[in-house]
């Protein structure tokens, strides 16, 4: 039970911690206030509790695939906000900027609401079982601690870099997270039967199993899938390419306006 709770919570926390520490590092590097991030985290937790509370109703929407579609929308939303974030910071606007802040807040709220809803549902399932609750709570605590520690490391790694390098690094990680979001969104659409399910393109479970700790970590970081389908690969690569294109075109437009 304990190891389970650790893995389950860690998987969820790691994803949210990554988004939060990315933005945290960005605000530090660009010398903005960080207070609004805390607000976004709290709002995200509230949103997560609401999502968890209404999950039975949400699941019944659209003939039983409401959950998949909601998750898809959340992941798609995070992806779009991340893309917007990349566009804004690549076009060299003056910071602090309210739009950048809003985009960061929205991405954090969405990421945390999705991840925390699952943890809340999970822990709430053990309300009546005090014996298991002990294992579950300590496991969740360990998972949370490991996830947050990873976030702290990532944060300090990024702010240790020179500002220009840090911003580049942040962009790269945002692209990776964005790709992961779209891959998961695709997964949910396949599950909801809105996208056709095809045979897996490859099976790398003998190299890195999704059951193993490295597999779980990779899943959290970049939605690692041992048996991905064509649609997932296509969407994943397309969304990565799109984000890179957004960065490039924002920079290009910036350069153009500079020479005009």
């Amino acid at each position: 039970m304990l190891l389970n709770s650790v893995i389950l919570v860690l998987r969820e926390v790691l994803e949210a911690a990554m988004v939060v520490s990315l933005f945290m590092a960005f605000t530090t590097v660009s010398q903005q206030s960080r207070y609004f991030l805390l607000k976004a985290i709290l709002l995200g937790l509230v949103a997560g509790a609401t999502y968890a509370y209404f999950l039975p109703e949400i699941s019944n929407w659209l003939e039983g695939i409401g959950q998949e579609i909601t998750n898809t929308i959340i992941h798609l939303g995070i992806y779009l906000f991340l893309t917007g974030f990349l566009w804004l910071i690549s076009s060299n606007i003056l910071l602090p900027n309210r739009l950048v802040k809003a985009v960061m807040m929205a991405a954090i709220i969405l990421a945390i609401s999705r991840e925390s809803a699952e943890i809340m549902l999970y822990i709430s399932g053990f309300r009546s079982d005090h014996f298991l609750m002990r294992s579950v709570l300590s496991g969740s605590l360990i998972g949370l601690a490991i996830g947050v520690s990873c976030g702290i490391f990532l944060y300090h790694l990024m702010i240790a870099l020179k500002p220009a390098a840090a911003t580049k690094f942040i962009c790269v990680l945002v692209v990776i997270v964005g790709g992961s979001m779209m891959s998961q969104a695709t997964q949910f659409l396949i599950q909801a039967d809105w996208l056709p399910s095809t045979e897996p393109v490859w099976d790398s479970s003998h190299i890195i199993s999704e059951h193993s700790l490295p597999g779980q970590l990779l899943y959290a970081l970049m939605a690692y899938e041992a048996t991905p389908t064509w649609s997932q690969i296509v969407v994943y690569l397309t969304s990565l390419a799109l984000m890179i294109l957004v960065i490039a075109s924002a920079r290009f437009l910036q350069d153009q306006s500079k020479y005009d």
Binding site: L76, L195, S205, L245
Partner: protein
């Protein structure tokens, strides 16, 4: 750019294989156990799993081999589409109670 992306997404969202209603298989969750814990489904066919959670606690139907994960709140039921799949054994488990909630889907050629 964004507009183009949305159009792409919209096209991709159109269900491509909604010709026939897929066969429905029922899985029950009770006392954190799956009934049946071995479900046989035909190969190369899309099936619709109707997972009924009769416990008061939520459960998450999860399978790495099937690439499926879905939270099923207590006393509700959920639909999960699976397949078409090649023959084989696909374990699944309840992520919230993985020690007891275990099962596998056995995909067999329909001829056999």
């Amino acid at each position: 750019m964004m507009k183009y992306f949305f159009i792409c997404m919209a096209i991709m969202l159109i269900p491509l294989n909604s010709y026939a209603a897929p066969p429905v298989f029922e899985i029950l969750i009770k006392d954190h156990l799956f009934y049946p814990d071995e479900l046989v489904i035909p190969a190369n066919t899309k099936v619709k799993l109707l997972v009924k959670n009769q416990d008061a606690t939520p459960e998450e139907f999860e399978s790495y081999e099937l690439n499926r994960e879905k939270v099923i709140p207590g006393n509700t039921q959920a639909i999960i589409f699976v397949g078409p799949l090649p023959p084989g054994i696909y374990p699944f488990f309840g992520e919230f109670f993985p020690k007891t909630a275990q099962g596998k889907i056995i995909v067999k050629e329909s001829g056999k």
